[in-house]
């Protein structure tokens, strides 16, 4: 049961943007989203995912919680321009037949991020992160920033991390 930085990050149509300090939504996705009223409104841009929370403020007794439940499964995350990790569920509150893409974790016209992908929780503990975001397609190098932030969090409270996570093993 290995873990850590990983994810399905290969292929051609899913290839990454060149490395940058921050990323905007890739233009093809933005164009598509602008036509979808359940995701984007002309006045305010991307809606704000109501489940979006700062990782560090969702701690409850050595577990990460979201909406009163232990975090479990894969959720979307972004690292915002100031270095906060924000995560949330994929479910779209505007339409159960759709999902809430990464930009909705911040909301607005074209929210910029330092990195984005999926974060894997196992029984409320952080297990791994990757860069699976078709909206931002961040460069793999940007994952180092997330890795570093999580290592700092792990140094402060290793119990928030799965025993099989790379950060817990490194500590």
């Amino acid at each position: 049961m290995g873990s850590g930085i990983g994810g399905n990050y290969s292929g051609t149509s899913g290839s990454s943007q060149p490395y940058a300090n921050t990323y905007k939504v890739v233009s093809s996705q933005l164009r598509k989203d602008k036509k979808d009223r359940d995701i984007y409104s002309g006045n305010s841009g991307y809606f704000k995912n109501p489940t979006a929370v700062y990782l560090e403020s969702s701690v409850s007794e050595n577990r990460i919680e979201i909406e009163g439940h232990r975090a479990e499964g894969k959720m979307t995350y972004v690292m915002d321009k100031t270095g906060n990790i924000i995560f949330g569920k994929r479910s779209n509150p505007n339409n159960a037949q759709k999902r809430a893409p990464h930009p909705t974790l911040i909301g607005g016209k074209n929210p910029e991020v330092q990195c984005a992908g999926m974060i894997d929780f196992r029984k409320g503990k952080i297990y791994s992160v990757d860069i699976s975001s078709g909206h931002y397609k961040p460069n793999i190098k940007s994952l180092e920033k997330v890795d570093k932030a999580l290592q700092q969090l792990c140094n402060k409270n290793p119990n928030l991390f799965s025993r099989d996570s790379k950060w817990r093993k490194k500590k």
């Binding site: 049961m1 290995g2 399905n8 990050y9 292929g11 149509s13 899913g14 996705q29 979201i66 909406e67 439940h69 232990r70 975090a71 479990e72 499964g73 894969k74 959720m75 569920k89 994929r90 479910s91 159960a96 037949q97 759709k98 999902r99 893409p101 999926m118 894997d120 196992r122 029984k123 699976s132 975001s133 078709g134 909206h135 397609k137 119990n159 025993r163 099989d164």
Partner: protein, 152 residues
């Protein structure tokens, strides 16, 4: 008998509530038991045994979702799942697609977007299909219909 032993190990792992409050030591012991089972019997036999438990013991929405949460915690999704659409469909069948009621953490979505790309189904790869939704996947829906037809 090997089959009896693997079944006993599987019962130990899954005949419990995901919501049980366990100490870190108890949780570690359970994860160790998962690793030991896979090492001892190999993933294909282990998964078959888990599947037998699912089909035999998890016939309500609640028990199926309890299994799904344990499956995720135990890391079953880190392995290749044979007939992945059929596996995921079982849960949607049991909960009648009512994820709002039975799956607050979107664990079924997580299982689908993990095991399908791993099995080569790129339509569930979020890098290329950001809007993938398992409940709308025709291959999953067909399997849900099949369970209903077979009277599971």
């Amino acid at each position: 008998m090997i089959e009896d032993r693997i079944t006993k190990d599987t019962d130990y792992l899954f005949d419990r509530s995901y919501d049980d409050e366990l100490s870190d030591e108890q949780e570690d012991a359970l994860l160790d038991a998962v690793s030991e089972q896979i090492t001892k019997y190999g993933w294909p036999d282990t998964f078959n045994s888990w599947l037998n438990f699912l089909y035999s013991n998890c016939t309500s929405a609640e028990s199926a979702m309890n299994f799904a949460n344990l499956f995720w915690w135990f890391g079953g999704q880190d392995h290749v799942i044979p007939e992945p659409h059929k596996f995921i469909a079982y849960f949607y069948y049991r909960i009648n697609y009512d994820t709002a009621k039975y799956d607050p953490n979107d664990v079924l979505d997580s299982i689908a977007i993990t095991i399908l790309p791993r099995a080569g189904f790129s339509e569930a790869d979020l890098m290329t299909n950001t809007e993938y939704i398992p409940e709308k996947d025709p291959l999953i829906k067909a399997q849900v219909d099949e369970y209903a037809k077979q009277g599971y």
